[in-house]
């Protein structure tokens, strides 16, 4: 059988099984069914932990309620592999957000938090209220992706959701504390960025020379602390 072909039986047709699709011959994407929540994310973490020790799996790359398996060689039997992933999905208990707690002191607003006024305007809240809500949140690192050390954080209060920009800021500085849609994060590199900068933190998110290069890992929890407010 083959996945991604119209004639193929739909793997994952059983209710609430993950959607499984191939990205070429060396990668398979497993997407959790249902809403984006920490229960489904915890099941993805558990699946990634289990699958990353399978022979032929070079890496299990965690995304937001999904995981991509990267293979050393094209798998011999895609159907069998997909079936064992579905079986594991239903059997494995999810992993809790059991990582370390990372505290990040933030200089809110000011020169590097240049989008704070726009966020305040969009949400209809005073800037100080946006800062209070953001700094009181309890966040979970769902995945580290997109750039080295960049954590996708879950847990942003819906009152301060703010759409991504249609035109990215050309050079946002590493350490910028940002809001993009329903997520928040800390920019790991200085680069163009479509999220909204509300502050800045003097924290090295990534250092290839460290034993663990990425400060944030999936399952870690993050708390932002007000270091200073510049309005």
């Amino acid at each position: 059988m083959s996945i991604n072909q119209p004639s193929a039986p739909l793997v994952g047709a059983i209710e609430k099984s993950p959607k499984i699709s191939l990205i070429g011959t060396l990668a398979m994407l497993v997407e959790a069914p249902g809403e984006f929540d920490l229960i489904q994310q915890g099941r993805i973490w558990a699946l990634a932990d289990a699958a990353s020790s399978w022979p032929n799996v070079q890496e299990a790359v965690i995304g937001v309620t999904n995981v991509m398996l990267v293979f050393e060689q094209p798998p011999a039997d895609i159907g069998m592999l997909a079936a064992s992933i579905v079986e594991l999905w239903h059997r494995l208990p999810g992993r809790k957000a059991d990582g370390k707690v990372i505290e990040i002191p933030v200089i809110y607003g000011g020169e590097l938090g240049f989008d704070l006024p726009a966020v305040a305007k969009h949400t209809g809240l005073p800037a100080r209220e946006v800062i209070r809500i953001h700094s009181e949140g309890d966040y979970t690192v769902c995945a580290v992706a997109s750039s080295p050390g960049f954590g996708y954080l879950h847990g942003l209060d819906p009152r301060i959701h703010m759409p991504r920009k249609s035109v990215p800021s050309l050079n946002m500085r590493a350490g910028s504390v940002t809001i993009g849609g329903m997520q928040t994060g800390v920019a790991a590199l200085s680069s163009p960025n479509g999220w909204n900068a509300i502050g800045w933190a003097s924290v090295a998110m990534f250092d290839p020379q460290r034993e663990q290069p990425s400060l944030m890992l999936p399952g870690d929890r993050v708390r932002f602390r007000i270091d200073r407010i510049e309005l």
Binding site: S2, N4, I23, L29, V61, M68, A145, S147, P213
Partner: protein, 325 residues
């Protein structure tokens, strides 16, 4: 040691890529034409994954500071060593002081210079490839520039006697791998996760269009122009892992093919993925050139790697033999 005398922007040290660090957001990098890099290394008796220079802007010149064996592979180009013209897909032994000059390719986009023993820059997270965006790997994480001096490792075979021979490039040696007369590069792809969300008309358009590789294409990705692919109902996908070769369709409708320096994650609908056996051919597609997609099954995609692997294995075997003659 080699000394860079002239290098326009974006020429970098690359090996076969950094694997296993996607989970912390680190893209693989690595040669855009991994077959050319591996072939250059095979000519010299290096391991396939020894680091070389990926040259994609020209003219490029370097000086050998000591006697060094080297090979030039990849795009079809004109080069000279110590003023004497040299054939592409060839290896030679340079004398200390010799200058190697490489001109703009006649066909293809990227020339690979490999050196007996490989370029000896530190491995970062398991690879010597330059990660330009994050600024590590290669030489200080940046493009090469005039005045750079790069150490070359110890050559693998001191007893080798012969260093003046070449090989047929893979687009000549592998049947069907070369370009056709119409100038459109045929690239084989497998359908990917969101293919079925596109209407039949959009699917047909995807297969029938000769897509132009736009000028805004680089090691990060190829942006294609020629037509627009739209969804009846736009979808927003959650960020998920992607690999080189994935063909994504952003809301504006013009496809993007992610390449070696692509982000580890994407969120656009995926139409298709370039098969591994054709990624190296795509890596030689220059901005302004045209490509068209052809649909293959998983089994055909897997089978298509055999001629590529056979080509590299036989090149290595013959080169090993020849060096000892």
């Amino acid at each position: 040691m080699i000394e860079i005398l002239a290098s326009p922007a974006f020429n970098t040290i690359q090996d076969l890529g950094r694997h296993g660090a996607r989970g912390i957001g680190v893209s693989t990098s690595g040669a855009m034409d991994p077959v050319a890099l591996a072939a250059g290394n095979a000519l010299l008796g290096n391991e396939d994954g020894a680091a070389g220079i990926e040259i994609q802007t020209f003219p490029f010149r370097l000086r050998f500071q000591e006697d060094t064996t080297f090979a030039l592979t990849g795009a079809d180009h004109v080069s000279t060593l110590a003023g004497l013209s040299m054939r592409p897909w060839w290896c030679k032994r340079a004398r200390a002081g010799d200058i190697l000059a490489i001109g703009t390719p006649r066909r293809g986009a990227r020339v690979y210079a490999t050196f007996g023993g490989g370029l000896d820059v530190p491995r970062v997270l398991g690879s010597r490839s330059t990660h330009l965006r994050a600024g590590f790997g290669g030489l200080e994480g940046r493009s090469l520039q005039t005045g750079d001096v790069i150490p070359v490792g110890k050559p693998p075979q001191e007893a080798a006697r012969r260093f003046d021979f070449g090989a047929a490039p893979p687009d000549v040696a592998i049947p069907g791998a070369g370009p056709r007369d119409d100038g459109v590069l045929r690239i084989r792809v497998m359908r990917a996760g969101e293919y079925d969300l596109f209407s039949e008309a959009m699917q047909a358009r995807f297969w029938s269009t000769a897509w132009k590789v736009s000028a805004r294409s680089d090691r990060g990705g190829y942006r294609l122009t020629g037509d627009k692919l739209t969804l009846d109902a736009p979808i927003e996908m959650r960020s998920h892992g992607v690999v080189a070769g994935v063909v994504q369709v952003p809301p504006a409708g013009e496809p993007i093919i992610q390449m070696s320096d692509a982000n580890t994650a994407g969120g656009y609908p995926k139409m298709a993925a370039v098969i591994q056996a054709d990624l190296w051919r795509l890596g030689q597609a220059a901005p302004g050139s045209f490509i068209a997609f052809r649909d293959v099954s998983y089994q055909d995609a897997v089978a298509a790697m055999a001629p590529v692997n056979d080509y590299l294995a036989s090149l290595r075997a013959v080169a090993d033999l020849y060096r000892q003659l």
